[in-house]
Amino acid sequence: MSAIARLLDSGLGPSRRLRVLAASGQLGYGIPERAFRAGLARKPHFIGCDMGSIDVGPYYLGSGQLATSERITRRDLRLVLHGALAADVPLIIGTAGTAGAAPHLERTLGLIRSIAMEDGLTFRLATIQADMPRELLKRRISENRTRPLGPIEPLSEPIVDRASNIVAQMGVGAFLRAIDEAPDVIVAGRACDTAVFAALPQRLGYPVAAAMHMAKIIECTSLCCVPGGRDAILATLSGDRFVVESMNPGQAATPLSVAAHSLYEQADPLTVHEPEGTLHLEGARFEALDDRRTTVYGAMFEPASVPTVKVEGAEWCGERAVLAAGSADPRVMENVDAIVESVRATVQEFFPAEDGADFQLIFHMYGHGGVSLFPRVMDGNTSELLFLVECIAEDKDQAHAVISVTKQYLLHHGFPGRLSTGGNIAFPFTPAELPGGTAYRFSIHHLVESDPSDELFGVQAGEVH
């Protein structure tokens, strides 16, 4: 009997306590082992891990690469696989391989299979795809059933064609279908963090609002504690309420810290939008059980009248080359804006647009407002300046050519009042020009209406030996 079959057969339900261990908010960056083991000692009924994030930027979705290193990803997967299989409890992993598209899922499954082979593990595995079929997305565009999730261009067919990977974010429903396959381990592509932790409780009959609110709080593990951390957290769900407790004795889940977590990376702390509906937190209550544990209850769940999925896509922008150089010269600093504009104009002459050699040259001026996304008035109090210059061009050679010409003209640019005629900038290393890899951008971040007949989130199950 598989771990999920045993759990479903155990008679567990809302009148009994369900212990959920959240092992990682981003698997692959190093799961703290001591707290994970402390969590296992509490005999959880299942273990959940989130493996993804959109924060790291469009490169990973676009390129199919993982943001985490293979070595630590393998180490973390090994830790949670052994932990779950030894305890014979289900393991659920969401947003495999950072972005959860087919290449990310495939690489994660490759690591899992190789660990299983090396360590002689056998188990039943269910996987859930998250790639958005392009034809379906185009149909929704023509039906006018998509909308942007903020300031981004409305969807169109060319945008769909240009994207290198497109994923839809699955909710609880896709996990429930995987649960029906009675596996030991579920590995999902792009998924809502909450669905990873809310699906099994819902399948066992626990109230949706409590399961969802619990999932929302524990998906970042002990980040909701003081001090916040990355250690495993245990939630104990019972009826319409749950208790959260960090598995690191030095981290306390207090009513204030748990309540404040609702703010984190959310545009609205009182409403959480999920594919199946909206979680309302106005009535949520947070009460101290003791100085390290907090009881939570009172959230409401409103099912969606029209189910939607969030769709994410990234497209190729070009190849990047980077130049890093500093200056300590006050005359350079006084004239920096004019210097940059002159150098830009000179570089442009070497790479005329009529050659079809399109490129972007971007100056990040640290010590001169380089961090700010918004226009800032500089106070002129800086003592050093960093020119971090990037070129994004059609290919690597072109990007390198542009950045190396930029380097030389920046070094020797003459301007009125110049004293340091040996060179305007200091290079920290040689070569000063670095290849910067491929540049992508998020081209799709839209909500798409979904129908029950949509063939989304396909589940496959089989044995791993």
Binding site: G57, Y59, L263, E265, Q266, A267, P269, S372, L373
Partner: protein, 100 residues
């Protein structure tokens, strides 16, 4: 009093790649009360500090955590060429000097 001297947390972060959220968490009810009544933290005042259109700024109170949340559009989609803060984690600076 300046925000930097009274707030317990002033943090910025993306809320998805299209939006930026700034959380101000205060140490006690009285400081929170002062902050929520302050004319320096209205959408218009915050928009002025950042040089953006006030209709794109939301200010949300979250009393249960003594917190105020500000939500703005990112001027550029996170991670696109020309971005300067992929996580949006360093955009709180202009608020630190605001006088409540």
């Amino acid at each position: 009093m300046r925000l930097i001297d009274v707030a317990r947390v002033v943090r910025s972060k993306n809320a998805g790649p299209l939006q930026l959220t700034i959380d101000l968490v205060f140490p006690d009810d009285s400081t929170f009360e002062r902050a929520r009544r302050s004319p320096a933290l209205t959408p218009e005042a915050v928009a002025h500090v950042y040089g953006v259109d006030p209709v794109t700024v939301k200010v949300i109170e979250f009393g249960v955590a003594n917190a105020i949340k500000i939500v703005m559009n990112r001027p550029i989609i996170a991670g696109s060429p020309g971005d300067s803060d992929v996580y949006g984690a360093q955009q709180h600076r202009p608020l630190l000097d605001v006088i409540l």
